[in-house]
Symmetry: C2
Subunit: 200 residues, 2 copies
Protein backbone atom coordinates (compact mmCIF):
# COMPACT_ATOMS: atom_id res chain seq x y z
CA UNK A 1 0.00 0.00 0.00
CA UNK A 2 1.28 3.44 -0.88
CA UNK A 3 2.11 5.78 1.99
CA UNK A 4 -0.21 8.76 2.06
CA UNK A 5 1.85 11.02 4.31
CA UNK A 6 1.95 14.75 3.70
CA UNK A 7 5.62 15.69 4.17
CA UNK A 8 5.24 19.17 5.77
CA UNK A 9 2.58 17.84 8.16
CA UNK A 10 4.72 14.84 9.13
CA UNK A 11 7.67 17.16 9.78
CA UNK A 12 5.55 19.40 12.00
CA UNK A 13 4.23 16.43 13.99
CA UNK A 14 7.81 15.22 14.44
CA UNK A 15 8.92 18.64 15.70
CA UNK A 16 6.09 18.79 18.25
CA UNK A 17 6.84 15.24 19.38
CA UNK A 18 10.34 16.29 20.41
CA UNK A 19 8.95 18.70 23.02
CA UNK A 20 8.76 17.46 26.62
CA UNK A 21 5.48 15.86 27.70
CA UNK A 22 4.09 15.69 24.17
CA UNK A 23 3.44 12.26 22.70
CA UNK A 24 2.49 11.28 19.16
CA UNK A 25 -1.27 11.85 19.58
CA UNK A 26 -0.82 15.28 21.20
CA UNK A 27 1.70 16.24 18.53
CA UNK A 28 -0.82 15.34 15.82
CA UNK A 29 -3.50 17.34 17.57
CA UNK A 30 -1.21 20.37 17.81
CA UNK A 31 -0.16 20.05 14.17
CA UNK A 32 -3.76 19.96 12.94
CA UNK A 33 -4.51 22.90 15.20
CA UNK A 34 -1.68 24.87 13.58
CA UNK A 35 -3.10 24.09 10.13
CA UNK A 36 -6.43 25.52 11.22
CA UNK A 37 -4.90 28.68 12.71
CA UNK A 38 -5.11 32.08 11.05
CA UNK A 39 -1.93 32.88 9.10
CA UNK A 40 -1.06 35.71 11.52
CA UNK A 41 -1.43 33.45 14.57
CA UNK A 42 0.89 30.83 13.10
CA UNK A 43 3.43 33.55 12.37
CA UNK A 44 3.10 34.88 15.93
CA UNK A 45 3.76 31.41 17.34
CA UNK A 46 6.80 30.78 15.13
CA UNK A 47 8.04 34.33 15.68
CA UNK A 48 7.86 34.13 19.46
CA UNK A 49 9.91 30.91 19.44
CA UNK A 50 12.66 32.59 17.42
CA UNK A 51 12.42 35.84 19.39
CA UNK A 52 12.74 34.10 22.74
CA UNK A 53 15.75 32.05 21.56
CA UNK A 54 17.40 35.15 20.14
CA UNK A 55 16.78 37.77 22.83
CA UNK A 56 16.96 35.81 26.06
CA UNK A 57 20.35 35.11 27.61
CA UNK A 58 21.93 34.91 31.06
CA UNK A 59 22.12 37.92 33.38
CA UNK A 60 25.75 39.13 33.66
CA UNK A 61 25.57 38.92 37.46
CA UNK A 62 23.27 36.11 38.59
CA UNK A 63 22.92 33.92 35.44
CA UNK A 64 19.11 34.18 35.57
CA UNK A 65 17.36 34.57 32.22
CA UNK A 66 16.84 38.08 30.90
CA UNK A 67 16.46 39.98 27.63
CA UNK A 68 18.59 42.86 28.92
CA UNK A 69 22.12 43.10 30.28
CA UNK A 70 20.99 42.54 33.88
CA UNK A 71 17.92 40.70 35.10
CA UNK A 72 15.17 42.71 36.84
CA UNK A 73 16.25 41.50 40.30
CA UNK A 74 19.88 42.53 39.83
CA UNK A 75 18.74 45.87 38.32
CA UNK A 76 16.54 46.61 41.35
CA UNK A 77 18.51 48.99 43.58
CA UNK A 78 16.20 48.42 46.56
CA UNK A 79 17.22 44.77 47.06
CA UNK A 80 19.58 43.60 49.78
CA UNK A 81 22.90 42.86 48.07
CA UNK A 82 24.48 41.08 51.07
CA UNK A 83 22.46 37.86 50.69
CA UNK A 84 22.48 35.50 47.68
CA UNK A 85 20.02 32.65 47.29
CA UNK A 86 21.40 29.85 45.06
CA UNK A 87 18.82 27.93 43.00
CA UNK A 88 18.98 25.25 40.31
CA UNK A 89 16.66 26.75 37.76
CA UNK A 90 15.11 30.10 36.66
CA UNK A 91 11.69 28.65 37.57
CA UNK A 92 12.84 28.40 41.19
CA UNK A 93 13.43 32.16 41.19
CA UNK A 94 9.84 32.68 40.04
CA UNK A 95 8.60 30.37 42.81
CA UNK A 96 10.59 32.22 45.49
CA UNK A 97 9.51 35.63 44.15
CA UNK A 98 5.88 34.53 44.49
CA UNK A 99 6.35 34.31 48.27
CA UNK A 100 7.07 38.09 48.30
CA UNK A 101 9.18 37.35 51.40
CA UNK A 102 12.67 37.35 49.92
CA UNK A 103 14.20 40.72 49.09
CA UNK A 104 17.82 39.88 48.35
CA UNK A 105 19.57 38.51 45.26
CA UNK A 106 19.65 35.14 43.47
CA UNK A 107 22.15 33.00 41.67
CA UNK A 108 20.98 30.45 39.11
CA UNK A 109 23.15 27.35 38.62
CA UNK A 110 21.26 26.00 35.59
CA UNK A 111 21.34 22.41 36.78
CA UNK A 112 22.87 20.20 39.43
CA UNK A 113 26.01 18.12 39.54
CA UNK A 114 25.03 14.74 38.12
CA UNK A 115 27.80 12.27 37.32
CA UNK A 116 25.29 9.88 35.71
CA UNK A 117 23.92 12.66 33.49
CA UNK A 118 27.45 13.72 32.59
CA UNK A 119 27.08 17.11 34.28
CA UNK A 120 30.09 18.27 36.28
CA UNK A 121 30.65 21.49 38.26
CA UNK A 122 32.17 23.18 35.19
CA UNK A 123 28.89 23.01 33.26
CA UNK A 124 27.07 24.91 36.02
CA UNK A 125 27.31 28.62 36.82
CA UNK A 126 29.45 27.98 39.92
CA UNK A 127 32.51 30.05 38.98
CA UNK A 128 30.25 33.09 38.48
CA UNK A 129 28.96 32.59 42.04
CA UNK A 130 32.50 32.35 43.46
CA UNK A 131 33.45 35.52 41.58
CA UNK A 132 30.48 37.38 43.11
CA UNK A 133 31.41 36.28 46.62
CA UNK A 134 35.08 37.07 46.00
CA UNK A 135 34.16 40.57 44.86
CA UNK A 136 33.01 41.22 48.44
CA UNK A 137 29.89 42.62 50.09
CA UNK A 138 28.20 39.21 50.42
CA UNK A 139 27.49 38.06 53.99
CA UNK A 140 25.25 35.04 53.50
CA UNK A 141 24.64 32.47 50.77
CA UNK A 142 21.40 30.47 51.10
CA UNK A 143 21.52 27.12 49.30
CA UNK A 144 18.08 26.50 47.83
CA UNK A 145 18.75 23.56 45.52
CA UNK A 146 16.02 20.92 45.42
CA UNK A 147 15.91 18.41 48.30
CA UNK A 148 17.05 15.53 46.06
CA UNK A 149 20.25 13.52 46.26
CA UNK A 150 21.79 15.53 43.44
CA UNK A 151 20.53 18.85 44.79
CA UNK A 152 22.00 18.03 48.22
CA UNK A 153 25.34 16.96 46.77
CA UNK A 154 25.55 20.16 44.72
CA UNK A 155 24.74 22.27 47.81
CA UNK A 156 27.46 20.45 49.78
CA UNK A 157 30.01 20.89 46.98
CA UNK A 158 29.34 24.62 46.67
CA UNK A 159 29.29 25.24 50.43
CA UNK A 160 32.75 23.68 50.72
CA UNK A 161 34.02 26.13 48.10
CA UNK A 162 32.32 29.09 49.78
CA UNK A 163 33.24 28.55 53.43
CA UNK A 164 36.96 29.42 53.03
CA UNK A 165 35.82 32.77 51.58
CA UNK A 166 34.39 33.73 54.98
CA UNK A 167 30.64 33.87 54.16
CA UNK A 168 27.84 32.29 56.13
CA UNK A 169 26.34 29.37 54.14
CA UNK A 170 22.79 28.30 55.06
CA UNK A 171 20.21 25.84 53.74
CA UNK A 172 16.42 26.13 53.33
CA UNK A 173 14.57 24.48 56.25
CA UNK A 174 13.32 20.91 55.87
CA UNK A 175 10.02 19.94 57.42
CA UNK A 176 6.43 19.03 56.84
CA UNK A 177 4.77 21.15 54.14
CA UNK A 178 2.08 23.56 55.35
CA UNK A 179 -1.33 21.98 54.80
CA UNK A 180 0.31 18.54 54.67
CA UNK A 181 -0.71 15.53 56.69
CA UNK A 182 1.67 13.90 59.20
CA UNK A 183 0.21 10.52 58.36
CA UNK A 184 1.37 10.79 54.76
CA UNK A 185 4.74 12.46 55.38
CA UNK A 186 7.71 10.22 54.61
CA UNK A 187 10.10 9.19 57.41
CA UNK A 188 13.02 11.29 56.20
CA UNK A 189 10.93 14.47 56.06
CA UNK A 190 9.42 13.73 59.49
CA UNK A 191 12.78 13.09 61.14
CA UNK A 192 14.13 16.31 59.58
CA UNK A 193 11.07 18.13 60.94
CA UNK A 194 11.79 16.81 64.45
CA UNK A 195 15.48 17.77 64.19
CA UNK A 196 14.60 21.26 63.03
CA UNK A 197 11.85 21.87 65.60
CA UNK A 198 11.57 25.36 67.04
CA UNK A 199 10.05 26.85 70.16
CA UNK A 200 6.47 28.13 69.98
CA UNK B 1 6.52 44.93 44.20
CA UNK B 2 7.99 45.35 40.74
CA UNK B 3 7.05 42.78 38.12
CA UNK B 4 10.04 40.72 37.07
CA UNK B 5 8.63 39.29 33.83
CA UNK B 6 10.85 38.82 30.81
CA UNK B 7 8.78 40.04 27.88
CA UNK B 8 9.90 37.58 25.15
CA UNK B 9 9.52 34.65 27.54
CA UNK B 10 6.06 35.80 28.66
CA UNK B 11 5.01 36.12 25.00
CA UNK B 12 6.25 32.62 24.22
CA UNK B 13 4.40 31.14 27.22
CA UNK B 14 1.24 32.95 26.09
CA UNK B 15 1.59 31.55 22.57
CA UNK B 16 2.00 27.98 23.84
CA UNK B 17 -0.96 28.43 26.20
CA UNK B 18 -3.24 29.10 23.23
CA UNK B 19 -2.61 25.61 21.84
CA UNK B 20 -5.21 22.94 22.63
CA UNK B 21 -4.58 20.81 25.72
CA UNK B 22 -1.75 23.01 27.00
CA UNK B 23 -2.27 24.84 30.29
CA UNK B 24 -0.13 27.47 31.96
CA UNK B 25 2.30 25.04 33.61
CA UNK B 26 2.86 23.01 30.43
CA UNK B 27 3.30 26.21 28.44
CA UNK B 28 6.00 27.37 30.86
CA UNK B 29 7.71 24.01 30.64
CA UNK B 30 7.67 24.15 26.84
CA UNK B 31 8.95 27.74 26.82
CA UNK B 32 11.90 26.92 29.08
CA UNK B 33 12.59 23.88 26.93
CA UNK B 34 12.74 26.11 23.84
CA UNK B 35 15.23 28.41 25.61
CA UNK B 36 17.43 25.40 26.28
CA UNK B 37 17.25 24.11 22.70
CA UNK B 38 20.10 24.41 20.19
CA UNK B 39 19.60 27.40 17.89
CA UNK B 40 19.12 25.11 14.87
CA UNK B 41 16.44 23.06 16.64
CA UNK B 42 14.46 26.16 17.56
CA UNK B 43 14.67 27.31 13.95
CA UNK B 44 13.52 23.89 12.73
CA UNK B 45 10.49 24.04 15.04
CA UNK B 46 9.52 27.58 14.00
CA UNK B 47 10.24 26.79 10.35
CA UNK B 48 8.08 23.68 10.28
CA UNK B 49 5.13 25.64 11.72
CA UNK B 50 5.41 28.24 8.96
CA UNK B 51 6.10 25.61 6.27
CA UNK B 52 3.04 23.54 7.19
CA UNK B 53 0.78 26.62 7.25
CA UNK B 54 2.13 27.76 3.90
CA UNK B 55 2.29 24.55 1.88
CA UNK B 56 -0.69 22.58 3.07
CA UNK B 57 -4.11 23.29 1.56
CA UNK B 58 -7.22 21.39 0.51
CA UNK B 59 -7.17 18.78 -2.27
CA UNK B 60 -9.04 20.11 -5.34
CA UNK B 61 -11.24 17.01 -5.42
CA UNK B 62 -11.86 15.67 -1.91
CA UNK B 63 -10.91 18.64 0.37
CA UNK B 64 -8.45 16.47 2.31
CA UNK B 65 -5.18 18.16 3.30
CA UNK B 66 -2.30 17.97 0.84
CA UNK B 67 0.81 19.89 -0.19
CA UNK B 68 0.18 19.15 -3.88
CA UNK B 69 -2.73 19.83 -6.22
CA UNK B 70 -4.40 16.50 -5.43
CA UNK B 71 -4.12 14.42 -2.29
CA UNK B 72 -2.36 11.03 -2.53
CA UNK B 73 -5.69 9.13 -2.46
CA UNK B 74 -7.19 11.13 -5.33
CA UNK B 75 -3.90 10.82 -7.27
CA UNK B 76 -3.91 7.03 -6.90
CA UNK B 77 -5.25 5.59 -10.17
CA UNK B 78 -5.82 2.14 -8.63
CA UNK B 79 -8.60 3.29 -6.29
CA UNK B 80 -12.28 2.64 -6.92
CA UNK B 81 -13.77 5.96 -8.05
CA UNK B 82 -17.41 4.86 -7.75
CA UNK B 83 -17.54 5.01 -3.93
CA UNK B 84 -16.98 8.09 -1.76
CA UNK B 85 -16.63 7.92 2.02
CA UNK B 86 -17.63 11.20 3.69
CA UNK B 87 -15.77 12.06 6.92
CA UNK B 88 -15.65 15.06 9.25
CA UNK B 89 -11.91 15.49 9.56
CA UNK B 90 -8.61 14.65 7.83
CA UNK B 91 -7.71 12.52 10.88
CA UNK B 92 -10.68 10.28 10.10
CA UNK B 93 -9.16 9.54 6.69
CA UNK B 94 -5.94 8.47 8.41
CA UNK B 95 -7.94 6.21 10.77
CA UNK B 96 -9.83 4.57 7.88
CA UNK B 97 -6.64 4.15 5.84
CA UNK B 98 -5.08 2.29 8.77
CA UNK B 99 -7.69 -0.46 8.34
CA UNK B 100 -6.24 -1.15 4.85
CA UNK B 101 -9.77 -2.35 3.95
CA UNK B 102 -11.12 0.66 2.11
CA UNK B 103 -9.90 1.18 -1.46
CA UNK B 104 -12.19 3.92 -2.74
CA UNK B 105 -12.19 7.72 -2.34
CA UNK B 106 -12.90 10.11 0.52
CA UNK B 107 -14.54 13.46 0.99
CA UNK B 108 -13.59 15.62 3.98
CA UNK B 109 -16.27 18.01 5.31
CA UNK B 110 -13.97 19.85 7.77
CA UNK B 111 -16.53 19.92 10.54
CA UNK B 112 -20.18 19.18 11.23
CA UNK B 113 -23.30 21.31 11.15
CA UNK B 114 -23.54 22.87 14.60
CA UNK B 115 -26.11 25.64 15.11
CA UNK B 116 -24.76 26.29 18.63
CA UNK B 117 -21.20 26.60 17.34
CA UNK B 118 -22.38 28.88 14.53
CA UNK B 119 -21.42 26.39 11.81
CA UNK B 120 -23.89 26.02 8.99
CA UNK B 121 -23.78 23.82 5.86
CA UNK B 122 -22.11 26.62 3.88
CA UNK B 123 -18.99 26.53 6.05
CA UNK B 124 -18.46 22.81 5.31
CA UNK B 125 -17.20 21.27 2.05
CA UNK B 126 -20.69 20.07 1.09
CA UNK B 127 -21.06 21.84 -2.26
CA UNK B 128 -17.79 20.23 -3.41
CA UNK B 129 -19.29 16.82 -2.58
CA UNK B 130 -22.47 17.58 -4.52
CA UNK B 131 -20.39 18.72 -7.49
CA UNK B 132 -18.45 15.42 -7.45
CA UNK B 133 -21.65 13.37 -7.38
CA UNK B 134 -23.23 15.56 -10.06
CA UNK B 135 -20.21 15.05 -12.31
CA UNK B 136 -21.23 11.36 -12.50
CA UNK B 137 -19.49 8.02 -12.01
CA UNK B 138 -20.34 7.82 -8.29
CA UNK B 139 -22.55 4.90 -7.26
CA UNK B 140 -22.37 4.96 -3.47
CA UNK B 141 -21.69 7.55 -0.79
CA UNK B 142 -20.83 6.16 2.67
CA UNK B 143 -21.57 8.60 5.48
CA UNK B 144 -18.81 8.17 8.09
CA UNK B 145 -19.40 11.20 10.31
CA UNK B 146 -18.96 10.59 14.04
CA UNK B 147 -21.82 8.90 15.91
CA UNK B 148 -22.69 12.10 17.80
CA UNK B 149 -25.88 14.16 17.60
CA UNK B 150 -24.20 16.69 15.33
CA UNK B 151 -22.49 14.02 13.21
CA UNK B 152 -25.82 12.22 12.74
CA UNK B 153 -27.66 15.44 11.85
CA UNK B 154 -24.99 16.32 9.29
CA UNK B 155 -25.19 12.83 7.76
CA UNK B 156 -29.00 13.12 7.51
CA UNK B 157 -28.75 16.59 5.96
CA UNK B 158 -26.27 15.48 3.32
CA UNK B 159 -28.09 12.24 2.52
CA UNK B 160 -31.25 14.23 1.79
CA UNK B 161 -29.32 16.34 -0.71
CA UNK B 162 -27.71 13.29 -2.30
CA UNK B 163 -30.68 10.95 -2.71
CA UNK B 164 -32.38 12.98 -5.50
CA UNK B 165 -29.12 12.64 -7.46
CA UNK B 166 -29.69 8.88 -7.72
CA UNK B 167 -26.77 7.57 -5.64
CA UNK B 168 -26.91 4.95 -2.92
CA UNK B 169 -26.29 6.56 0.49
CA UNK B 170 -25.10 4.27 3.31
CA UNK B 171 -23.94 4.67 6.91
CA UNK B 172 -21.16 2.95 8.88
CA UNK B 173 -22.51 0.09 11.02
CA UNK B 174 -23.27 0.71 14.70
CA UNK B 175 -22.56 -2.01 17.22
CA UNK B 176 -20.38 -3.16 20.06
CA UNK B 177 -16.69 -2.42 19.49
CA UNK B 178 -14.45 -5.46 18.93
CA UNK B 179 -12.75 -6.35 22.20
CA UNK B 180 -15.43 -4.46 24.12
CA UNK B 181 -17.48 -5.80 26.98
CA UNK B 182 -21.28 -6.14 26.76
CA UNK B 183 -21.54 -5.28 30.45
CA UNK B 184 -20.06 -1.85 29.88
CA UNK B 185 -21.74 -1.03 26.56
CA UNK B 186 -24.32 1.75 26.80
CA UNK B 187 -27.99 1.01 26.04
CA UNK B 188 -28.11 2.93 22.76
CA UNK B 189 -25.10 1.09 21.34
CA UNK B 190 -26.48 -2.26 22.51
CA UNK B 191 -29.91 -1.70 20.99
CA UNK B 192 -28.27 -0.61 17.72
CA UNK B 193 -26.18 -3.79 17.83
CA UNK B 194 -29.34 -5.88 18.21
CA UNK B 195 -31.08 -4.04 15.37
CA UNK B 196 -28.08 -4.51 13.09
CA UNK B 197 -27.49 -8.19 13.94
CA UNK B 198 -26.38 -10.46 11.12
CA UNK B 199 -26.50 -14.18 10.49
CA UNK B 200 -23.47 -16.25 11.45
Amino acid sequence: MASYQIAPLARLVEQFERLPGIGHKSAQRLAYHVLGMAEADAQALAGSILEAREKIHYCKICCNLTDQELCPVCRDESRDKSVICVVEDPRDVTALERTQEFHALYHVLHGVISPLGGIGPDQLCIKELLARVNAGGVEEVIMATNPTVEGEATAMYISRLLKPLGVRVTRLAYGIPVGGDLEYADEVTLSRAIEGRSEI
